[in-house]
């Protein structure tokens, strides 16, 4: 304890440059790379552009659900109903599109509205009626599945609207992909420069320009690599853009807005949050609105990709989403977890699925391996955290 000194500027900045690295996130990335290398060595096609493109498309639904799930779990709740919401809103979309012949824009707007409405109802019950989220969403899981069977009369509804189907299965043209890469890199450079300038205005020291530049170059290289790989097959798959867009928006919400900060505080210590004047109920309800909305978006992607709505669509997806969050370092105790982590978690889960299928492993093995990886990931996480605190 005596070692602790009063903070001075230089010490803190040093921390910012070298200490601000999220070790856990990097461990996750390391694990993902290891999995990819492992499957790549065992199977030639795993790392092919075609398979990677498939893999990203496959993971998109889980990833979109995990984005919402992270925030709910961070706030100390859980949402078991997302899989059924995917099913129900997918069914609604198919009915509107196929049976009623609505234009794509109306289908999209109505489906999203349905997701938001469901989220509002569940959120209200959890936040304002204090019914545990586990119960509300467990009930919701059954209710929405039942409702889906009811409205679709337990039939599979095919989608014929080509615009709708494109949401899940189209690819951006190669030139558009390149433009996207350029825009992304330009945004990265300007935001880095802007951040430096702002820090200088506040009189904080900034990292050496070379270091920031190295970071920018490394990330830009990844962006270019990604776009070129995708372009060498058919281009960037549509769903992946949804995932990236939503991940950026929700990371911003989580890290930069008062709402996000409040959610972490609620999950970390709800009493302290309440006594700091945070609107617990309003925020809690909003979280479920988000999961409802994201489930509806996932439903659009899934229904479009399969070009039909079935009564089993989305089954077990809630568990995949929760597993992705947990593998990505989200604590079920609440208070900690990141969206980037959850996306990586979703990627780990999907890579295992994809890789094991390519190797021709039997389904039962796939379940056993995935379940074991989930437990192992949390075990390692808990063990490493303990080491940190002692």
């Amino acid at each position: 304890m005596d070692m602790k000194a009063v903070v001075n500027e230089r010490q803190r900045e040093k921390k910012n440059i070298f200490g601000n690295i999220d070790i856990r996130a990097y461990t996750m990335i390391g694990a993902l790379v290891a999995i990819w290398i492992f499957f790549g060595l065992l199977n030639d096609t795993f790392l092919s552009a075609r398979n990677l493109s498939n893999l990203f498309t496959q993971m998109s639904v889980t990833a979109i659900l995990a984005i919402g799930m992270v925030l709910v779990i961070v706030a100390g709740h859980i949402d078991l109903s997302v899989g059924s919401i995917v099913g129900l809103t997918g069914g609604i979309a198919a009915i509107l599109s196929n049976w009623m012949g609505m234009p794509t824009s109306v289908v999209i707007a109505s489906t999203l509205a349905a997701g938001v409405l469901i989220g509002m109802i569940q959120g209200w019950l959890v936040a304002y009626r204090a019914i545990p989220a586990f119960i509300v969403t467990l009930g919701g899981m059954m209710i929405f599945r039942g409702a889906l069977m009811g409205i679709t009369k337990s039939t599979t509804i095919p989608i014929s609207d080509a615009n709708f189907i494109a949401l899940g299965s189209a690819y951006f043209t190669n030139s558009f992909g390149l433009i996207l890469a350029v825009v992304a890199i330009a945004a990265l450079v300007t935001s880095t420069l802007k951040k430096r300038k702002s820090r200088q205005q506040y009189g904080f020291s900034v990292a050496p320009l070379s270091l920031d530049m190295a970071k920018v170059i490394a990330i830009s290289a990844l962006i270019v690599l990604f776009v070129l790989t995708m372009n060498s097959y058919k281009g960037i798959p549509f769903p992946i853009i949804f995932v990236i867009g939503l991940a950026l928006i929700f990371s911003f919400i989580a890290n930069k807005t008062t709402f996000g900060r409040h959610v972490y505080a609620i999950g970390g210590n709800v009493e302290a949050a309440r006594l700091s004047g945070i609107h617990i109920q309003r925020h809690t309800m909003m979280l479920f609105v988000f999961t409802g909305l994201l489930s509806a978006i996932a439903a659009l992607v899934l229904t479009a990709r399969l070009s039909s709505a079935t009564i089993s669509a989305g089954q077990m997806y809630e568990l995949n989403a929760i597993a992705a969050c947990v593998i990505g370092g989200t604590s079920l105790m609440g208070g900690s977890g990141t969206i980037v982590g959850a996306i990586i978690g979703a990627m780990v889960m999907t890579s295992l699925d994809n890789g094991m299928s390519l190797l021709g492993m039997e389904t039962f093995w796939q379940y056993i391996v995935k379940g074991s990886i989930l437990v192992l990931a949390v075990w390692i996480d808990i063990a490493s955290r303990k080491k940190q605190t002692h």
Binding site: V7, R12, Y264, G277
Partner: protein
Amino acid sequence: MYALEMIEITKEFPGVKALDRVSFKVKKGEIHALCGENGAGKSTLMKVLSGLYPAGTYSGEIRIDGQPVMFRNIVDAEKAGIAIIHQELALVKEMTVGENIFLGREPKKFGVIQWDELYYEAAKWLEKVGLNISPQTKIHSLGIGQQQLVEIAKALAKQAQILILDEPTAALTESEVEILMGILELLRKQGVACIYISHKMPEVFRLADSITVLRDGKSIATLSRAETNEDQVVSLMVGRELTERYPYVKRTPQEVVLEVKNYSVWHKDKPMKVNQNINLTVRKGEIVGIAGLMGAGRTEFAMSLFGAYEGKAEGEVWIEGTQVHIRSVQDAIRAGIALVTEDRKRLGLVLGMDVKTNTTLASLEAISKLKVINQNEELKWSQKYVDELKTKTASLETPVGTLSGGNQQKVVLAKWLMAKPKILILDEPTRGIDVGAKYEIYHLMNKLAEEGVAIMMISSELPEILGMSDRILVMREGQIVKQLTHDEATQENIMMAATGGK
């Protein structure tokens, strides 16, 4: 013949001597009151006696009926006939009275509980404590007073010869207190030794045969009730010399900032008031100390003013001449009130979050535009408070859970200073923090008062109250029973008012 002798008990915690050669003897068939301020060592002594601190973790000797004993755990102590009834009752609410009385010692044959025997026996013990209810009644349908009697029945069913009651009347109504006193007098006749821990002088003097006073972990005196009086006991309880110096400065408080009129607060789940008809004012640049014993209703009052207590409040609150209606913490913050709670880990901080996020938690709006936090502003402000309060932390990104108590408290203070309050309520602001940080907090209080903040400080430490307050209000049983100026106040007259002595 003593039923219990505790001889030269010394118990140390890292850095503190909680008990320093305490001796304490109780005769058979005697009610022996144990008196002392909060933190005098009463609870620690009882934990030693009840086996919660096992033999070997303290030095000294315990004898029961003249025989030395060593308790390794609570079960050992129970076997030796010691039963403790805690302030917080330890009954299983969803179970019946009978099940509770025999919890863990159910009469059984081949592992099967003999329910008829259990309820028959339970009824017998209930009769003994004068409780006229069926043993099949569920605990949650009983009042606190009846639950207390069930606890006593449970203790007696264990053949307890030494009964410890820790503040048994804190939650009881007057008629329930009467019943309890009757039972205790009956037990005395039956030869049970009772250790009665209480702050309340009238009860102590009505009931006890002997009184032992503890102060700062030492046994000060054991007196026979017939030969002493309230004045003597109170002065022994507080009789420490005031050696610590407090940075008190004479101030001239200005206009009234906070005025509370006829303020009453209802208990959050019982139909009783925890505060009654409170009237007080706090002026700009004034430090008002609220003294009282634990459970006097001070924290409830503060939480209620801050919009954070679940029970309903009645009465008026005026801030700078206009009446305000505070229904939530948000209302309170908007009205310019800040509350530094007594339990910083549970109520004040998000331990997993870092210094800067905890600092800005209550005033994020001030550093945000369109709900987007300006993270440079955040760094600037939190750095400012780290510098100003001399918070010792490795960085602004250090989780507050890893800081020492004093530095954690500084982060809580920083959070509320950043909210720029007109009225700052401090609930036990220096509890559990080191001396250095304590004095920094006192200096900070002086500085804030000088800058015109109206400060209300709740504290159970008399020297702190005496040393820092311009005015002192004493609360007892939810009411303000005495008001003293800085010059009038002494440890004795505060304690006398707080314990309800004449």
